[in-house]
Symmetry: C2
Subunit: 168 residues, 2 copies
């Protein structure tokens, strides 16, 4: 089975919020995102990795339009005590870059090549979230253009042609 690489998407319109030190027990994610929904804030990526065994705490990060950052942090601060998280981080100088394609699950070389392209451009990868059709990373906003160029080069993609690249 071949992987298809359709192209590279990038976005500099988003900010990131990290809810730090979230108790890892049922109901907490629900409370956080109900608060966000009640404030009518649109969410793009949500990322949560496993909690630390020692603390029973984890972090939940999500991205959203920059203009909605203040509303989101205000809404979350109001429920901090009730939910029990330690702190909030707000970051509005991120860029998001994604490799868009299909069948990428059975081609581990695709993610290796994607991450190598970022390394080649000396771009630090701050967050990763992937699916079979989309590999997305968060980087510094200032690194976004270099990241996009490097990924285009690594996969032989060219802005001017709209054909997908077959990999594998």
């Amino acid at each position: 089975e071949q992987a298809i690489i359709a192209g590279v998407a990038h976005d500099r319109s988003e900010a990131k919020i990290t809810v730090v030190g979230v108790p890892d027990r049922p109901g907490v994610a629900a409370a956080i995102f109900q608060t966000i929904a009640d404030a009518q804030i649109n969410i793009d990526m949500i990322v949560q990795n496993v909690s630390a065994a020692a603390t029973g705490l984890t972090d939940i990060s999500f991205t959203l339009p920059k203009a909605e950052g203040k509303d989101a942090t205000n809404a979350l601060q109001r429920v901090q005590k009730e939910i029990g998280f330690q702190s909030l981080l707000f970051d509005d100088t991120i860029g998001k870059v994604s490799l868009v394609g299909a069948g990428m699950r059975s081609h581990p070389g695709v993610s290796a090549t994607f991450f190598a392209a970022l390394a080649e451009a000396n771009v630090n990868i701050e967050m990763i979230t992937t699916s079979e059709i989309r590999l997305s990373v968060v980087v510094r906003e200032k690194d976004l253009d270099n990241a996009v160029r490097s990924i285009h080069t690594a996969f032989g993609l060219d802005d001017s042609n709209n054909e997908a690249v077959v990999y594998g």
Copy 2:
């Protein structure tokens, strides 16, 4: 704009590996996933959240077929010193459940409802990764069927009809 909820996918065939205490600097993700690619291991989800400011370390988790777990941990152990991560966690009793749809980004109520369904079933959410068309969580394998049932109920989905539910 309305969100479309197409259905719920679930998967109990995967295991999870967490590379713990990964230095947060360019090139590290590339090295980890080149190791995995060289071992010809298929990867599904990759999740990385932001590093701790105090330590400069983060974790990278990924899921893969259970049968490939040993090969993956062996391959990573061989490069532990070179890459510099602290430890590896291997977990083969996970379940993955996903809400599949479209336009979910502009409907924060969708993720709130999804997470609330899991909370309602007393299912702990161990990892989260989302896109506009798919919200995926990792839970205990033993909780998978309860999670799926609860999500069906929360969204008014019915296994017997194949129509998508419109939300919003």
